[in-house]
Amino acid sequence: MIQQQTILKVADNSGAKTVKCIKVLGGFKKRYAKLGDIVVVSVQQLRNKSKKTSKVSKGEVFRALVVRTKKKYRKKDGSSFFLQENAVALINKQGNPIGTRILGPIPKILKKQNL
């Protein structure tokens, strides 16, 4: 349940450490983003102080794919699962990832959205 102002961790090596969700994409007045939804984020913190190693800079606005949520995700068979934190992977407008590696566990549900 990611919404505006939610601070999210970044699960790839794009250089950002935390981002803030600015918009939940996907509909008129869509309030919450769940696993697999795309949000617009603004970079809050970087992993390194040096900007050379990161592809992003503070305050830049990107799109991001939600890859981990603390909110339970219900599968069609009734089972549910949830992860330890809320995390995203930064992507560009075309849907291509900005980082080259993903860190931490990612649920299989995201396979249909090729990342």
Binding site: K72, S79, S80, F81, F82, Q84, G104, P105
Partner: protein
């Protein structure tokens, strides 16, 4: 419910009791109602060949209906065997306790034999009453059956 930690370790909870204890960071080996505790303390079987059937194998098996059917039958049988072995384990564990219980019961009876005496006397009287009433009932039935046999023989012949 499944919880995936950041180190990719999966934890399954059957109900909120388990979930809440996990969140409190309690060590299941020290919490008395968990299987982990019971197994480490030797209260339940920890090592048994039936447990090998339940292990997770990460090799995918091509779907075969016959195999599925056989697996279900096998599961039932393994469950049976496990239960009998559990019962036997429990028996073995409680053997000493049984002898102890008998000894203690004997001691208690010896101590409080006076409490039992009036009850025993009453019981004898009750039994006597029961036997007497039964005897009288049998006698009455015999009388009535005698009466029946001495009534007209024609009815008996036809029947």
């Amino acid at each position: 419910m499944l919880f995936v930690r950041n180190d990719s370790k999966r934890f399954r909870f059957c109900r909120s009791k388990c979930h809440r204890n996990f969140n409190k960071k309690r060590n299941p080996r020290k919490v008395a109602w968990t299987k982990a505790y019971r197994r480490t303390r030797g209260k339940e079987m920890a090592v048994d060949s039936t447990f090998d059937f339940e292990k997770r194998r990460n090799r995918p098996v091509k779907y075969d209906r016959g195999l599925m059917g056989k697996t279900i039958v096998a599961m039932r049988r393994v469950e049976e065997i496990q239960q009998t072995r559990d019962a036997r384990f429990f028996e073995n564990r409680m053997q000493d306790a049984k002898a102890e219980k008998k000894k203690q019961a004997r001691v208690e009876i010896e101590k409080s034999i006076e409490l039992l005496a009036p009850a025993v006397a009453n019981r004898e009287e009750v039994m006597r009453n029961v036997i007497d009433s039964a005897k009288s009932r049998i006698a009455a039935r015999k009388k009535s059956s005698n009466k029946l046999t001495t009534t007209p023989n024609s009815a008996m012949v036809e029947g």
